[in-house]
Symmetry: C2
Subunit: 449 residues, 2 copies
Amino acid sequence: MTRRQDVTRALAEWIVGCKPSDVPEDVQKQGVRGFVNWMGCAVGGASHETADRALAGVTQFSGPKVATVLGRTERLDVLHAALLNGITSHVLDYDDTHLKTIIHPAGPVASAALAVAELKDLSGADVLHALTLGIEVECRIGNSVYPDHYDRGWHITGTTGVFGAAAAVGKLLNLDAQRMTWALSLAATQSSNLREMFGTMTKSFHPGRAAQNGATAAFLAEAGFDSAEAGIEGRRGFANILSSKQDYGEILDTLGKSWEAGLNSYKPFACGIVIHPTIDGCIQIRDEHGIAPEEVEAIELFAHPFVLELTGKTEPKTGLESKFSIFHSAACALARGDGSPTAFTDEAANDPVLVGLRRRVKVETSPSVREDEVTITVVTKDGKRIKKYVEHAIGSVDRPLSNEQLETKFMNQAKLVIGEKQAADLLAKSWKIGEFKKVADLAKASVPA
Amino acid sequence: MTRRQDVTRALAEWIVGCKPSDVPEDVQKQGVRGFVNWMGCAVGGASHETADRALAGVTQFSGPKVATVLGRTERLDVLHAALLNGITSHVLDYDDTHLKTIIHPAGPVASAALAVAELKDLSGADVLHALTLGIEVECRIGNSVYPDHYDRGWHITGTTGVFGAAAAVGKLLNLDAQRMTWALSLAATQSSNLREMFGTMTKSFHPGRAAQNGATAAFLAEAGFDSAEAGIEGRRGFANILSSKQDYGEILDTLGKSWEAGLNSYKPFACGIVIHPTIDGCIQIRDEHGIAPEEVEAIELFAHPFVLELTGKTEPKTGLESKFSIFHSAACALARGDGSPTAFTDEAANDPVLVGLRRRVKVETSPSVREDEVTITVVTKDGKRIKKYVEHAIGSVDRPLSNEQLETKFMNQAKLVIGEKQAADLLAKSWKIGEFKKVADLAKASVPA
């Protein structure tokens, strides 16, 4: 077993040595799925006000504009493009999830890697390999400190994302083991982001800034800017200071043999993960029984207590608030069959039909119910009781989104920003990322015509 | 008393409302002294390899080059200039100190404020006021979490410096109270930097990055990028997550009545503060008795145990290592009368005269001795015992450096980088910062002719 004072160095050496052929085929395929999902989210979030304001704040400082802001016409320097794409891919709360740690892995890593690849004229295969390695590093570091680290209040997507971005960019820059060690330690000393920011634009700033800071770490290390040898495990390093749990076996054991990057999952619905079983079940009832809202006497839910604790808003006024309302979400899923971003708009939150229906949603909870299961009973005005038990919500590891479902998700977001035709073209190209000699051509395909 | 859930908001309102005429005259004067000291350190560190490598890493991403890298010919965008000047002003470990918290206050704040003032064509008076406010914010937030926060392993100059930079730049941008609140919360979520990095280039990266991140926070807030209301005191905010001590009275009580910014102190010697009493006393013995190294049988020190714990290197091989050797420092002070950067070069560390003398330094320690006192006994070969008791080292709050001593310190560093004549001109101009209509003219006076 590797000595525990060598965690940062051993991880760096593994990143430096890992070849594309070392990555199992199923993990490589998951990398492509993750890239497609991330691209859809980044384009889907590109027209959000959060992106407008971030651009208004930082464009004045942009260096050479060699990198694409996905889904927009602006271009920025590499570091600022990483920031913006990290923001947009997270702003709809619709991105990917490493369920063991609640890290949203692709945002920090892909946003940094794609921008650097545009600068350096790299291929899609280069980006895919860097993306897989970066996600692996990020999730393993997350495993080593989860759950204590997250429970303390750290936004783990930002705190671990900076390592993933540094690893991915360091790989694209072909850093040697010494410089990769410095890059990881430069990432460690920039690891931050507080959960206090949830509910504001600053939440999506986190994966963006992690992308930007991780890339900066790698470029500084490339230039010989030195750093600690043990930024992760040192006495005053990341794990000891930001967590009371430090399980370095999670980082080093089975490295290259089992893959966290193969466990990435994709949200089918644009809201917190605890609502997903309910939306899933209500859409199934709608599809199977075709009940109109006015026929419904009540929607009864039997769920885990977390559901009410996290998403108990009874009268949401805005689209953003409606993401935290199990009542709205159940009503919208039953009435419209929708859990995509269009289900969480100001319009939907104030639609009289949905407002009426959500007031007829009743929630009972018990700790005996798992977080990812629910029992739904729709009671109709003529006395029928339609029951649906959801054992694992769609999008979980046990019921992963199919490629077709990922495509639907992609199109539902992207067509709203760049139109149906261009979205379909971008989707087809994103699946083929591995064939692009210059991945910059793929990035450009996202720019509104 | 202000409700404790309003810490961030109350602090923001105070920053927004504070006028230059609200700052007592002695605090204003300390601001000028702090600026002069910071300028000398930034120019003194400008030719360091750390700056070369940072520039090699980030220049490729610089936006419009409107801001000066002090003491160098390169120019950078505002954010990157803030990074570089923060690095150079700290790289010689020679900057200012808020002794209650060991924060080095000016680096993060002045580096951000000066660069922004160059962009916006602001005056020296504007920069001085922003600098004083930024230092006040930074040190008060430091007081609220010190010592637990530092003891955990956070590099407090970085973790609190980002707030100081955000406050100073927010003031220069005339943010309203809402936007200033967002700027402080955007700073909170970027608060980081680990003591694990000490002894590497990344230590001086910390004040630089704090300057850059704090400025970014203010520019984003100006653009309406929103953030938490309670980034400092929120349940998952800065103080609760990065410390187990949260004394918000240190932030809000007596705000505008007593001034931490008036307590800034300046290192007379280019090394850790625990060696200062010894260097001070040895130089006094040399001045008073003129003893040659070959006449010395032994140098006996009676000091606090921290001195050996932190600076116990007996055989330093490099200039950097010699900063952590009480033996070298005492020998060099007695033989050369020097504690400035020239005392801590590779040459000095390997000078046979100093190596011989440092081996004749004997250290006894006792917890009964205060950290800032020492008793020195020089025993000569002909049997004399010369004793010197230093109650408070020069540079401490009780024995502050005079303006003349600050000038000597400034010249000793700056002349090595930009030559004696230009250094003297820059020094004279720095004292007159308050008279500059365009402070950019002062910054330019630091550029090597």
